[in-house]
Symmetry: C2
Subunit: 333 residues, 2 copies
């Protein structure tokens, strides 16, 4: 059962104040008293009540993580899962416990919950509407955004350098000799898909000798959508003499690749494929997918680091934190 410090104090024959001093480790206490108190603590397996502590210290040492996404998978999404793994590890190391929430309706409910819990800070993941940011701002709670987009220069956010990554992919494919390329471009209202496409185009334009470029827009960024779109465009791909395919994320790339494989195409022989995100799955596929890596480990780690600084009131934190995107070359190119 749960004891309280009063019982501990009584059994150790001291006052609450003294017991508190021993247990929290600050303030005077003689060796004998210290010993007596710790013995009782040990014997009763006493756990100090963090709720009461938070009450007086006005700090909970908890942070909230909210993932905004329309549909599951949420935590089981390969990208967010990895990010959350990294956040949890970093939070643990800094002494924070994490409330994890998902929000499918882009509502303020999860946020409200966490505000009521008086978390010390908030990490907002993925795309979220402006109203959420405005709302959070009002409460003057430390917060930051990971993998989302905003035009608000005040908001601390962490993103991968998608434009450069897209350009890298283009340069790489061009270097392999590809001059006829098709792009499957995920939802353009998403910052990352938008920039990856723009970067890829820029990379190609800088080369100048591209023979053919087709952009297939995709309203979603799922495996199924990649598969479907490739099915619809397989003939055009063959007839147009395309030799390479870039998709703005791995799911789309894998879906497209699976269709090509089912139709008997050899990859990378007849078509090279490159994706983006470098999700775990990509390395396991056959052929393993070449992909632009996003450093989710660093992003997770740094988001906790930055939030902690914010909580501790450090000034002048960098608002925009971009992470380099490097190509991981595998079997599909």
């Amino acid at each position: 059962m749960s004891h309280n410090i009063k019982e501990i104090a009584k059994l150790a024959g001291v006052s609450r104040s003294t017991a508190s001093r021993v247990i929290s480790g600050k303030g005077y206490a003689s060796p004998e008293v210290r010993e007596r108190v710790t013995a009782v603590v040990e014997r009763l397996q006493y756990k100090p009540n963090a709720v009461a502590r938070a009450m007086v210290s006005q700090r909970t040492h908890n942070i909230g993580v909210i993932v905004f996404r329309e549909r599951p998978p949420i935590v089981s999404h390969p990208l967010y899962g990895k990010l959350i793994d990294s956040i949890l590890t970093a939070a643990e190391a800094k002494g924070y416990s994490v409330f994890l929430k998902t929000d499918q309706e882009m509502s303020l409910r999860s946020t409200d919950y966490l505000l009521e819990q008086r978390v010390d800070g908030l990490i907002l993941i993925s795309r979220l509407r402006k109203n959420v940011i405005d709302y959070v701002k009002k409460f003057r709670i430390p917060y930051l955004m990971v993998n989302g987009s905003t035009d608000d220069p005040e908001v601390i956010h962490l993103v991968s350098d998608d434009e450069a990554g897209g350009a890298n992919a283009a340069t790489y494919l061009h270097g392999l000799g590809h001059r006829r390329l098709m792009i499957i471009a995920g939802p353009q209202e998403h910052r990352s898909h938008n920039l990856r496409l723009a970067g890829f185009k820029r990379g190609l334009e800088e080369k100048g000798d591209i023979e053919k470029l087709a952009v297939v827009p995709s309203p979603e960024s799922t495996f199924e959508q990649g598969y479907r779109l490739m099915a619809e465009n397989a003939e055009a791909f063959a007839e147009g003499g395309f030799t390479a395919l870039f998709a703005t994320n791995d799911m789309l790339a894998l879906g497209a690749m699976k269709l090509l494989l089912e139709r008997g195409w050899s990859i990378p022989g007849q078509a090279a494929v490159i994706g983006y995100d470098n999700i775990g799955l990509s390395g396991m596929y056959f052929p393993a997918l070449t992909s632009v890596n996003v450093d989710l480990d660093a992003m997770g780690r740094d988001s906790v680091e930055l939030l902690d600084r914010l909580i501790r009131g450090e000034p002048d934190l960098s608002k925009l934190n971009e992470y380099p995107s490097e190509i991981v070359i595998r079997q599909s190119t």
Copy 2:
């Protein structure tokens, strides 16, 4: 900033008690007063302090979820990610917030943290040592175990019916005409791998006309391990005239399958492959992997449901909750 109920009361011209009655919605309050108070609450965007509430009510409405695993991926593991997604959704619906913790050292630290937070209950995921269970027991906190093993009949736990699933897989392969089979068997100290193997063997024995059966033990249950073991046993597989491969989880199966594909084997033509877990990846692979499904959605949902009942003090909850394992037939068989 954060206001408190005293300020609200003052601004509304009532006492704390009355404000509390209006805000929490229980107890008498005249329409005018009710109106005045809610207006102030609205204007100041007042959020009741859950910490203080927990203090007096002795209930936090928080639950703790701990995933015990030696190594990452943890949340990003396809199995646990899905389970956690399901738990989060169910918890939200029941008004619980979730503390998510991972524990790589099979230690008591995460547990201690959550006990200090005075969570209402605990969901323990994956394999955990006996000492953890014994420890948790001492604190008389509602808890249950998902996807772990225990010989303690007192512990409420939720698992998939791995023995039956293994047998199903065997029956299914036998039905397709396979008489020479190889098994890649993951760590036998894991309940699930152990039972899947046992079930599979039983399934075959019941048929009686098996010509050849080889069991390749695997110390780990990773993709890389499956790949490596298949590399070591590819010749034996060919020479032995094996026609089917069963692995005790999808990761092993996919690793093995990838090696076979790289060596030019046709699947399912020359070798049928079947895995276990039905992780998202399996359906996306080419050829898509036939796999025994584990109903993680139901397990997540029910774990919250059961924990909630436990918290509310309902008696006579079923200790052992087994979930049926059904085969999802795809391209690899």
